[in-house]
């Protein structure tokens, strides 16, 4: 019997390190001891499973999912779409993708956000969907605005959408942020720059996708997400094997 095996080791040099002093909050929230590396076991290679019963079809439409009837949020209408793949290039079907973002003025609907840009009465700012059998997902939303934050006196976040992805195992769990091609704030951002490798930063920048743009309606951006891949089911890689 061939059993699925563990995930490829996470490339910790591709991800940001824990301690990134230019992103000040990380200084007191970064472990000082080394992480203990574990080989995969069922605790790591399994994870929660979600189905269509967990979500609502409108959940991926941020233009509609909090709007008053007949109204909609202010801002640039966009489609954000792409595929969830693993490191082997295989689609990850049926996985939960959740996102959250500021409104077009850069304000979050959160009781802790006090930025002076106004709340948009017709915009909640969160959505979720399951990838289809090809790993494909899409959202409709408005492009978020840049906003200031307390790091240096004059720090601004580039326009971004926060994304949360599950995969099939708890070891694939990932939260990241999607940026937009051409934004001059991207490379000035201390949070973006926690990532040491410029190619890894590029992987977080969604591209304008004219082919997916809906004429006279919405501009599209394409953002593919890659989760950790798994070893093939070769017997020498079996979880049980030793």
């Amino acid at each position: 019997m061939l059993k699925p095996a563990e995930f490829y080791q996470r490339d910790r040099e591709w991800h940001p390190p824990a301690l990134t002093p230019d992103y000040k909050t990380s200084v007191s929230r970064s472990p000082q001891y080394a992480l203990i590396s574990l080989q995969g076991s069922p605790s790591e290679i399994t994870g929660p499973v979600f189905g269509q019963n967990d979500i609502d079809p409108v959940d991926n439409d941020l233009i509609k999912n909090y709007a008053q009837p007949g109204e909609g949020p202010i801002g640039e209408r966009i489609i954000l779409h792409g595929r969830v793949l693993d490191e082997n290039g295989r689609p990850v079907p049926g996985t939960l993708v959740e996102l959250w973002q500021a409104n077009a003025g850069g304000r979050y609907r959160h009781k802790k956000d006090t930025y002076l840009a106004p709340i948009d009465l017709n915009f909640g700012g969160c959505g979720r969907t399951l990838t289809d059998e090809n790993g494909y997902y899409y959202f409709r939303t408005v492009k978020p605005g840049a906003y200031p934050w307390r790091n240096w006196v004059n720090s601004w976040r580039p326009a971004h959408i926060h994304m949360s992805i599950f995969g099939s195992g708890f070891a694939q769990r990932l939260i990241t942020q999607c940026y937009f091609e051409g934004d001059p704030l991207i490379h000035k951002c201390p949070i973006v720059n926690t990532i040491p490798d410029p190619d890894a930063i590029d992987q977080l920048i969604a591209r304008l996708d004219m082919n997916a743009t809906i004429p006279l309606d919405s501009i599209a951006y394409k953002f593919d997400i890659v989760l950790r891949g798994r070893r093939s089911t070769l017997f020498e890689n079996r979880l049980e094997g030793n």
């Binding site: 059993k3 996470r10 991800h15 970064s30 472990p31 609502d56 926060h162």
Partner: protein, 206 residues
């Protein structure tokens, strides 16, 4: 040039930021949007085993509570079975084994209700001591932190657990052991997580 391997690179992680609740627990951010939020009921109504509550606080390197943290829990049921297609055994109807936990914004205290997991399969045909896998994200945490919660009333199983034994420094193992007590007749485990500093919790690269 030798052949290309053509693997893709994993999408790099970024901090969940201070407003993670909007996406993952909008009720906590202060608004209702979804018909149902996910992750508030870990065990479901039909789960067998002992009902427990787990409480704690996440503390930063200055000793202050981290008030904007979000945790996720992943565990087996009381018989050590994960609610996942790769575990060939069945779980009780409604048992998911996964939950989302947010803090009180004023105190940083968090808590969740579940059932105590059983010993679950580990590598090489062995059993892992009962444990709950935890994933911790917050502003200032660039890559989510993975840890495990074990139970102080399982000393024999803990002593044999391969993951606990992998931690070279015995005194650090204690950071993963939750302490049992009772409150109003209910079983309570306390599990504080120290991100940095003295008695720093053991975190895993899984």
């Amino acid at each position: 040039m030798p052949q290309e391997l053509n693997y893709l690179k994993e999408t790099p992680s970024q901090t969940a930021g201070p407003y993670v609740h909007i996406g993952l627990a909008p009720g906590a951010a202060g608004f209702d949007i979804y018909k149902q939020e996910l992750g508030w009921d870990i065990a479901g109504p039909n789960a067998k085993g002992e009902r427990i509550r787990v409480e704690g606080v996440v503390v930063d390197g200055t000793g202050s509570p981290v008030k904007d943290v979000l945790l996720e829990a992943w565990q087996a049921n009381s018989e050590g079975v994960f609610a996942h297609p790769e575990d060939s055994r069945d779980v009780e109807n409604g048992f998911r084994g996964w939950g989302r936990v947010i803090t009180d914004f004023e105190t940083g205290e968090w808590g969740f209700d579940t059932v105590k997991p059983g010993a679950s399969p580990a590598r090489g045909g062995t059993l892992a001591a009962p444990h709950i896998n935890l994933w911790v994200v917050a502003r200032g945490i660039n890559v989510g932190l993975n840890t495990r919660l074990y139970f102080d009333d399982e000393p024999e199983a803990n002593a044999k657990d391969a993951v606990l034994n992998l931690i070279e420094w015995e005194k650090r193992r204690a950071t993963l052991i939750a302490k049992r007590s009772e409150r109003d007749g209910k079983v309570l485990y306390r599990f504080d997580i120290k991100i940095q500093g003295e008695d720093e919790t053991v975190f895993f690269d899984i």
